[in-house]
């Protein structure tokens, strides 16, 4: 507050010897002892050279006026006249050249008779009080109620720019100085709006000069006059304890001690008015408590500043009232009709009372919330039936919304999250790696989502920022997506809560959302060939490229028949390469083919190459956002299933080929006929089963979902939709291929069926081997017979014939019948498994699986036998 005077520099250069000398004399005037003189002299010299001023008015005319006014106020009109006369004399004498300095000197000293010099008032309060009435907002200016604007105005026209305690205290002390005296104890204790002792000046309080007449009320004498109460209330309004009304601890607020006599009507008014003080105190306490705590975040800070602004307006009203009061006292003696009465106060403070009440409610409601949650709370309070309350809360919202607006701007246009206090409704997981940028890094923090932003809009906002951040960081694409005018949407001066939220916000978000998403998808499709990679997955991992798969199966069969431990990736990779080169796959993009690779799963003992072999398609860069490791795992799972089914089909085809081949060789021996026929029947049933299954997998599962996926991707608006469509595609396939946990029993049965088929293949192979050996043996026997006959011998002897028949009979008994029974058992167990499989499948929730059951058992062959056996 103290400022260095620039207008009156100490002319020590010209009178360097003079000043110390005079000072010394001054000291000797006061004290006699030499050592004390020296001590004081040093102190005085310090003070003088410190050149510190409080900024007393430096305009002589105005200073005179002020002094005179003060005298008039104390009913010393005669003195005022005499002063002006003396002043005029002094000027005309010309003895004192620097009259203004002298007057200032006297003025400060005279003031000091009433109060301790150098007291600093709360600048905030003073600034607001010094504002002329004309500057007051209309809402706080009781219209037509006779506030003496003119007088107040004329007395402090200069004060707005002055803002220092000198002026402030001068008119602050205009009311009878008793108040000051009575308040001295409170002054020392209260801290918020109270006067503070400056460190340089000491807190000596001189008793007020006796010449000033002080109106003292004796509380015990009679009822308290209304004026005193009004005066008191003006202090109470600022949360300061008054002479009579004082703040009690607890909820009851300001109370008048019982021993004071107050008119009941006055008492009621007083308590009604004292509520203002209580409310003010509450709000002020809330502000002060949080002002220093920056960790609460920007939103809370802006809320506090908005509250402070509201309080400032309130202080202006108090200032006006105080001006009115001092005007009343100036004109005391005359009975004026527009005197400040309690009743008037009640009327004038009605509006601010409502306002403060609302603010107090808000303060209570916003105690424990911060950031977006604070906005939500305020927004809820803004849904109020009273338009005044609504306007007030909206006004606050406008200011509190600003920090969020800034964050939103950076997020939507730059993809940057500058949320240092965790206030924004989008949360960045800093621990998440860049690979998870799209999936896990950013999430919506629902508790910080302001209520006026709907969930769907918030998701769009999230996507917009995420897309931009994705483009910048993953795709290294720095293209500016928005025009400068678009970027200024959030920066316009009027981007307050009213103008921004609701339709304008959703409009902006919709446009940015549409543009960024479109751009991102375009980049992914053109620059990163998202669709090509999807197609590659379909072709190679989901066995879409038939000729390639068939050829691969053909040439890799021998390698995979080995135990898993002796399969090597490099061998398999070579086979894969040759398969690619030999089929139409070679015409595919080089980029795609280079990503195709072989992977061997962890082998457990007893596994063959079939169990561990798997194709792999490597993805990296931005498209790995679509093909996450999780997705890759599902592709692997699906591939294994499809590969297994394909292998079974391949096996059965091989078996059928063998049957056809051996048909001619074996048909001459009637003993085999039954067994072979049985074989053909079983193979037929198995082929029927596997071809229906393959049909189902290829068409119902893959092709349908694939078509749907393509449709979804073409119509997708943002990357999220693509990812969702893709994962849905995989979901459907997993479910339909019975790979989901719910279909685990079904899958086990299917595996059993596959195992039966493999078992059957082995049996048939061994059967053919045995049959062929037998055929060979018999052929040999026949040849021997023929050669003997050619030589003119008996073709066969009795013994030989018998032995041959015995052999054949033995073969029939031991081998053929054995195979027959084995096949029967196999068929039975296969049929049983298939039956229960069919039962389960036909009860499956998925419609296409029910169709599979229908197709497998279209003539109720399997289930029909069941029912017949049940009937019997």
């Amino acid at each position: 507050m103290a400022k260095t005077s620039s207008t009156r520099p100490l002319s020590s250069s010209s009178s360097s010897g003079l000043v110390p000398d005079l000072l010394h004399r001054l000291c000797t005037n006061f004290v006699k002892e030499q050592d004390q003189i020296n001590k004081l002299y040093k102190l005085c010299l310090n003070i003088i050279s410190s050149n510190v001023t409080q900024g007393v008015v430096s305009d002589e005319f105005r200073l005179c006026q002020r002094i005179q006014k003060k005298m008039v106020l104390r009913q010393r009109e005669a003195d005022a006249l005499r002063f002006s006369e003396l002043h005029r004399q002094m000027k005309s004498q010309g003895f004192v050249k620097d009259t203004i300095a002298l007057l200032q000197f006297f003025y400060v000293l005279s003031e000091d008779g009433e109060k301790t010099s150098g007291e600093i008032r709360d600048t905030f309060l003073m600034e607001s009080m010094n504002l002329p009435a004309a500057l007051l907002p209309s809402s706080y200016n009781p219209k037509g109620q006779g506030v003496p604007k003119k007088k107040f105005h004329s007395s402090t026209p200069h004060s707005v720019s002055f803002s220092s305690s000198g002026l402030g205290s001068s008119w602050r002390s205009d009311p009878p100085s008793t108040i000051r005296g009575h308040h001295s104890t409170i002054n020392a204790s209260d801290s918020s709006v109270m006067l503070k002792d400056q460190s340089t000046s000491t807190s000596v309080r001189h008793p007020p000069p006796t010449s000033i007449r002080i109106p003292v009320f004796d509380p015990t004498e009679s009822e308290l006059p209304e004026d005193a109460l009004v005066q008191d209330l003006l202090f109470v309004f600022q949360g300061i304890d008054g002479k009579y009304l004082s703040m009690k601890k607890g909820p009851e607020g300001f109370r008048i001690p019982n021993e004071l006599m107050v008119h009941p009507a006055h008492l009621e008014h007083c308590y009604k008015l004292a509520e203002l003080g209580w409310l003010h105190h509450k709000i002020k306490a809330y502000i002060d408590m949080r002002k220093q705590d920056f960790s609460l975040g920007l939103v809370v800070q802006s809320f506090l500043s908005a509250l402070s602004l509201e309080l400032t307006e309130y202080y202006r009203l108090v200032a006006v009232l105080e001006a009115q009061l001092s005007a009343d006292q100036e004109s005391s003696g005359h009975v004026t009709s527009d005197k400040l009465s309690l009743r008037r106060l009640v009327v004038w403070t009605r509006e601010p009372l409502e306002k403060l009440r609302t603010l107090a409610i808000l303060v209570d409601g916003c105690k424990n919330v911060r950031g977006g949650a604070l906005l939500s709370t305020l927004y809820l309070y803004a849904q109020h039936g009273d338009p005044e309350v609504m306007r007030l809360v909206k006004h606050l919202l406008n200011q509190v919304y600003r920090p969020i607006n800034t964050l939103l701007n950076a997020w939507v246009f730059e993809g940057q999250l500058q949320d240092h206090y965790n206030e924004f409704f989008i949360l960045a997981d800093l621990k998440a790696s860049d690979d998870r940028l799209w999936h896990g890094k950013y999430t919506i923090r629902s508790n910080m989502l302001p209520k006026f932003i709907p969930e769907s809009l918030a998701r769009k906002i999230l996507t917009v920022g995420k897309s931009i951040s994705f483009l910048r960081q993953k795709c290294n694409d720095q293209t500016e997506l928005f025009t400068p005018s678009q970027k200024n949407w959030f920066k316009k001066g009027d981007c307050t809560f009213d103008t921004m939220t609701g339709d304008p916000l959703s409009h902006i978000i919709n446009i940015t959302y549409r543009d960024t998403s479109k751009y991102l998808l375009n980049i992914l499709n053109t620059q990163y060939h998202l669709k090509d990679h999807l197609g590659a997955f379909r072709k190679y991992l989901l066995l879409g490229q038939g000729d390639f798969i068939k050829h691969l199966m053909d040439i890799i069969e021998r390698e995979l028949a080995k135990p898993a431990t002796s399969c090597y990736v490099h061998n398999l990779t070579a086979i894969l390469e040759s398969a690619i080169r030999a089929t139409n796959a070679q015409y595919d993009e080089q980029d795609v083919l280079s990503r195709l690779d072989v992977q061997l799963l962890d082998a457990s003992p007893g596994d063959t190459g079939w169990d561990v072999f798997s194709l792999l398609y490597r993805v990296d860069g931005p498209i790995s956002t679509v093909f996450t490791p999780d997705t890759m795992l599902r592709y692997l799972q699906i591939f294994n299933f499809l590969w297994r089914a394909k292998r079974i089909e391949f096996i059965l085809a091989g078996m059928w080929r063998k049957q056809m081949n051996h048909q001619k060789q074996l048909r001459n021996i009637p003993d085999f006929h039954v067994c072979l026929h049985q074989c053909q029947l079983i193979t037929g049933a198995l082929i029927h089963f596997i071809s229906q299954l393959q049909y189902y997998i290829m068409f119902e599962c893959l092709e349908c979902s694939w078509a749907e996926l393509l449709k979804c991707i073409d119509g997708a608006v943002d990357l999220d939709e693509v990812i969702t469509a893709h994962s849905k595609f995989l979901d459907v396939i997993v479910t339909r291929c019975l790979l989901d946990p719910a279909s685990q029993p079904l899958l086990t049965q299917l595996r059993t069926l596959f195992d039966r088929i493999v078992e059957y293949q082995n049996k048939q192979d061994s059967m053919f081997a045995a049959f062929l050996t037998e055929t060979e043996r018999r052929k040999q026997y026949e040849l021997t017979k023929e050669s003997r006959a050619d030589q003119g011998l008996w073709a066969e002897t009795q013994d030989e014939t018998e032995r041959e028949y015995q052999l054949r009979d033995e073969f029939y008994q031991s081998v053929i019948l054995d195979y027959q029974s084995q096949f029967t058992i196999l068929e039975h167990s296969y049929n049983d498994t298939l039956k229960s499989f069919l039962e389960r499948v036909s009860d499956h929730l998925d419609e296409s699986l029910q169709f599979l059951a229908r197709r497998l058992d279209f003539n109720r062959f399997y289930r029909g036998t069941e029912t017949v056996s049940l009937l019997m």
Binding site: F30, G113, S201, V204
Partner: protein, 80 residues
């Protein structure tokens, strides 16, 4: 102004009277404003101010001195 002073200095007695008058006026003003300064102090103060001392700083010097006396008196009272 300068001319007046020159004229005033023409006669010794007249000048003294003038100074006395002027000081009386100053003293009156001082009394009116309840500064509580005695003649001697006032004289020194006027000289100081004429020497260009900051009036507010001077005021605080006076206050400081008063305080010192007050403290001294208080201490002597306690001692006695």
């Amino acid at each position: 102004m300068r001319k007046k002073i020159k004229m005033a200095s023409s006669s010794e007695g007249g000048r003294l009277n003038e100074v006395k008058d002027a000081l009386k006026v100053v003293k009156d003003i001082s009394d009116l404003l309840n500064t509580g300064l005695d003649d001697d102090t006032l004289k020194v103060c006027v000289q100081l101010l004429e020497a260009g001392v900051n009036p507010e700083a001077l005021a605080s010097v006076v206050l400081e001195l008063r305080r010192a006396i007050g403290a001294q008196e208080a201490s002597t009272v306690i001692e006695t």
